[in-house]
């Protein structure tokens, strides 16, 4: 992604979407012709609990300005309980990031079902706006990974 001084800051958002609900939700928002920003890059994962805390940090290292994790609603996990584990893990991880002084608003967990195309688009619009306000990620960046 090119960041040009003349233009307004465009954040890079990484969205981890679970295969069974949120990825289908993203697909539905597409087929419904709902707009969501092109800043959002989707990475499909088998289940939201596939997301290791390292994935999130790694996304920030490689230039993401915000990371959002989407999964099935609690109780609807394709693997019965994956998202319950995600919920505990991510709560602790986000709390730790906050403890280290890294902006907590750059990370989010959102439950999006396969039928919620509109919610997916709305969430992405809102999250992109929020990250845009925060500006570029400086506290968890790795300069070696920046393209010149």
């Amino acid at each position: 992604m090119q960041v040009n001084d003349n233009k307004e800051f465009q954040p890079l958002i990484v969205a981890f979407c679970c295969n069974w609900c949120s990825y289908a939700g993203a697909d539905l928002s597409g087929t419904n012709r709902l707009n969501y920003p092109t800043n959002v890059k989707i990475i499909r994962v088998p289940c939201s609990c596939r997301v290791n805390p390292m994935f999130i940090l790694r996304a920030f290292q490689r230039g993401a300005d915000g990371v959002i994790l989407c999964g099935c609603h609690p109780g609807d996990c394709h693997y019965t309980s994956g998202n319950y584990f995600t919920r505990r893990r991510m709560t602790l991880l986000f709390s730790m990031l906050d403890f280290l002084g890294i902006e907590r608003d750059r990370t989010r967990v959102e439950w999006v079902s396969a039928a919620e195309g509109a919610k997916f688009a709305a969430t992405m619009n809102e999250f992109t706006e929020a990250v845009k306000k925060l500006g570029p990620n400086r506290r968890l960046e790795d300069l070696r990974c920046k393209k010149q």
Partner: protein, 323 residues
């Protein structure tokens, strides 16, 4: 105490209950005491020590030792028994091969705190009525015992042995500890202040991996930080991202399993308060998922291996407090 322990060890070696003993022996300096294994009564007489500097937690050594032939005698302080219980729960040690003799904890001293007083060239340290008589190459010096107590012992959480086969001395109780004070102080700072605090601390990290190697909860045979494919196996953290990531992931991997033994901070050659990261997780787990003390027993499920359907959402982090 040392005498009683040597006698107990000799007796258990002689009657064949155990075939070796894990304890401590002197290193290069009087305050530099290291865990060691003894196989004979002569070795015990010659080298075995137990004093104010035997702070090392020997539980982690039992992961390897308990898989060898015969029983091993381990002298465990109260905090060490929590670590052993946690390892037993995770099936990392063979508890049947370990004979635990519980010994009273008692505050351990931190040689760095003595050196910070400008006392160097230490050749001997004696505790007389809570005054330390320190012999140095420049003559004798004194300092109050309580000023030299290590941070980990100053915020002791428990003097109770949670597992033992035999006790020397009396068993203690779980204490009211002030161990979360510093975590709370940090939580009340602004994000910028916290960020500056941790940058100052973590930028000292030399990635010696001592915190990982000493941790009784870090017992994976293949560690993510040794995996060349992971891109984080570098021996020196080369920038702020790696420093942050190493310490976040290290603490996260032991979240819910950390017994708060404080070894990570004790061994850190750069004196980074690493236990604060672990305590932050413990504090969060206690407040969000109910009080939990890792290693207290060998049956309850670890908080990150369990869930309830009405757990709080991750957004609770964003909602609480001011930025």
């Amino acid at each position: 105490m040392q005498e009683a322990m040597i006698n107990k060890a000799k007796q258990l070696l002689a009657d064949g209950t155990v075939n070796r003993v894990i304890g401590w022996k002197k290193g290069e300096f009087v305050y530099d005491i290291t865990p060691a294994i003894f196989e004979t009564a002569e070795e015990l007489d010659a080298d075995f020590v137990y004093n104010e500097f035997t702070a090392a937690n020997v539980s982690k050594y039992l992961v390897k030792e308990s898989k060898k032939e015969g029983k091993i005698l381990a002298f465990l302080k109260p905090c060490d028994t929590y670590s052993l219980n946690q390892l037993t729960k995770e099936h990392r040690v063979n508890r049947d091969n370990i004979y635990v003799v519980g010994i009273p904890g008692g505050p351990k001293l931190d040689a760095e705190k003595i050196k910070a007083k400008g006392i160097t060239g230490i050749t001997g340290i004696k505790n007389e009525n809570y005054t330390l008589k320190i012999e140095t190459v420049y003559g004798e010096q004194t300092m109050p015992f309580y000023e030299a107590i290590s941070d980990k012992c100053a915020s002791c959480k428990s003097k109770k042995h949670v597992t033992y086969d035999e006790l020397i001395g009396e068993d203690g109780d779980v204490l009211e500890s002030n161990r979360f004070d510093m975590v709370e102080k940090l939580e009340n700072m602004t994000a910028q202040e916290r960020y500056d605090f941790w940058r100052a601390e973590l930028s000292k990290c030399i990635r010696c991996n001592a915190c990982r190697n000493v941790c009784p909860a870090c017992t994976c045979e293949k560690c993510v930080f040794d995996n060349p494919e992971s891109g984080v196996e570098n021996k020196a953290a080369s920038n702020s991202f790696e420093e942050n990531m190493f310490h976040i992931i290290r603490a996260f991997h032991v979240a819910g399993r950390c017994t708060d033994c404080g070894e990570c901070s004790r061994v850190c050659p750069q004196n980074i308060p690493l236990h604060l990261l672990n305590r932050k997780f413990i504090k969060d787990i206690n407040s969000l998922y109910g009080e939990y003390q890792a290693g207290e027993d060998t049956t309850t499920k670890a908080p990150l291996n369990a869930y309830t359907t009405d757990d709080c959402e991750a957004s609770i982090v964003h909602e609480r407090g001011v930025e």
